[in-house]
Amino acid sequence: MTVLEKESAIRPDALGIDGLTLGIGSGASAVPLLDGVTVRVGRGETVGLVGESGSGKSLTARAALGMFPRGARATGAVTVAGVDVLAAGRAALRDLRRTRASMIFQDPRAAINPVRRVGDYLTEGLRARGVPSREAAATALELLEQVGIRDPRGALRRHPHEFSGGMLQRVVIAGALSTEPDVLLADEPTTALDVTTQAEVIALLKEMQRTRGTGMLFVTHDLDLAAAICDRVYVMYAGRIVEEAAGTALFSAPAHPYTKALLEASPPVHGDRTEIKAIKGRPRSLAEAPSGCAFRDRCPLAGDDCAASVPATRAHGTSAVACVRPEEVAR
């Protein structure tokens, strides 16, 4: 047993999503959204959730907070630091979001009330946990310093519109981590930022996460980014997980045809200039996907057997993959 395994044997995972199936409506008008999604984030671990638009990344991340589309039915299990999210009532969910799980989004401006001062934004989470106001203010100041805001004292009194996108995202990160959550759900947190700002915000996120031992689910459409910063990566397609692999293995040994196709579709910035290969068709949501393997209308390896049923997940190399012939997916 590694140290990490030993610890996780004693303390529950930061996040465990197990066979989550989600749908809205019923009967003929039923729309499936997620199918059997299983995602685990250990304590202090960085886990990527990658896929193109509509694949269900945000739905999965929000499920960890017990946030589901109106009228949705969820089956399976979602636990955050041992708390059963699907069974939790309103008060328990409020408590969960206040203390155990935080979320940051692509647009920091949507996360902060524009008419309130940054100081109030940062202290409210702490105050809600019963931290006295003087102490909360001191913590807020310390947090702003940690996330690299110049003149943190002045920043406490400023409004969101006085910050650039990158600086405001730092403020949101400070707020999300102020409550020392077990898990941080980061949904495309750097997608709207400059590449250089993205790198700086990522460095900050990783550092904050490392010192606090927070587990992080990092949602992104950027495979390179996920592979560069994540211990493990899940690849999603049409409402299902199609591959789980170590961050480093994704590039050297993609096990699912979709993962490989994504890699071949993105031009490299270093090394040889290689041809890019476009993937025919367009990404699909679960509701529009073909039966059996959802990728089969775009997959170069598809055969009749791919239509029979949704491929079971199985081990291949260091990956877990939902495909009937991963051995043909050499890079």
Binding site: T196, L225, S266, V269
Partner: protein, 272 residues
């Protein structure tokens, strides 16, 4: 070849908005069939430069020559002349399509405007040819813009821009909002269009990998100025300006060194 006139020649371009200098002495040349990348951080003046090229903004000073001739003024004649030679494509072309027109009607619009003598049948044939060239089905051509996906809309925007056979296409973050698999489709489409038609590109993007793929030369902008220029490949392999180094090291790769990004930032801050 060297005696050929640049299809686009920009010199000493300056644009001020009040006391903000958005573009500050930008100049470059684009030969027929060439592809030039403009990269740089947010707010560095890329879009402002692109808009001036397309005649959507007037420069405070400086000149833009298209096929060797100055393009100035906002008269109808001047605008038509410019549009005939240069077309622009934006990140999300949704706003530039009339929601009440079908895609085919929108694609026909510039042809109607610039080639009024073309018969209706010839125009329809040209539109069909264009839609086919960018890989849009007849059905997509008959749809209103809202029924198209982002990638299909971008194809439609390219078809519309190509209709009057311009010599330059200015693309501002034209593939930034697209999914990777769709982005690859548009990039390969742009590759083959340039090969087949000899059109030239000015390609504005924050994505250096994409810029490497689609351009031969590039300029790096910062605070309205060009801080580095050259062959795209050379810039990426051997960046000279501290900002270019920061930009390159900021790209996530296996074994990404985030401390190096921090060092680059300090070097950049110290350099000015």
């Amino acid at each position: 070849m060297t005696s050929e006139t640049p299809v686009l020649s920009v010199s000493s371009l300056v644009k001020r908005f009040g006391d903000v200098t958005a573009v500050d002495g930008v100049g470059f040349e684009l030969m027929p069939g060439a592809s030039l990348g403009i990269v740089g951080e947010s707010g560095s003046g890329k879009t402002t430069t692109a808009r001036i090229l397309a005649g959507l903004d007037e420069p405070t000073s400086g000149t833009v020559l298209l096929a060797g001739e100055p393009v100035t003024g906002r008269s109808r004649r001047a605008r038509l002349h410019r549009a005939r030679l240069l077309q622009m494509i934006f990140q999300d072309p949704y706003g530039s399509f009339d929601p009440r027109q079908t895609i085919a009607e929108s694609v026909a619009e510039p042809i109607r405007l610039h080639l009024p003598d073309l018969s209706g049948a010839d125009r329809r044939a040209r539109v069909a040819e264009l839609l086919d060239q960018v890989g849009l089905s007849e059905r997509a051509g008959g749809s209103p813009p809202r029924e198209l996906s982002g990638g299909q809309r971008q194809r439609a925007a390219i078809a519309r821009a190509l209709g009057i056979r311009p010599r330059v296409l200015v693309l501002d973050e034209a593939v930034a909002a697209l999914d990777v698999s769709i982005q690859a489709q548009i990039l390969t489409l742009l590759d083959s269009l340039r090969r087949d038609t000899g059109i030239a590109y000015v390609f504005v993007s924050h994505d250096l990998a994409v810029v490497r793929h689609i351009t031969d030369t590039a300029v790096v902008m910062r605070h309205g100025r060009i801080v580095e220029r050259g062959d795209t490949e050379t810039i990426l392999r051997d960046p000279q300006h501290p900002y270019t180094r920061l930009l390159l090291d900021s790209i996530p790769v296996p074994g990404w060194d985030l401390d190096r990004v921090a060092r680059d930032r300090r070097a950049l801050d110290a350099s000015r």
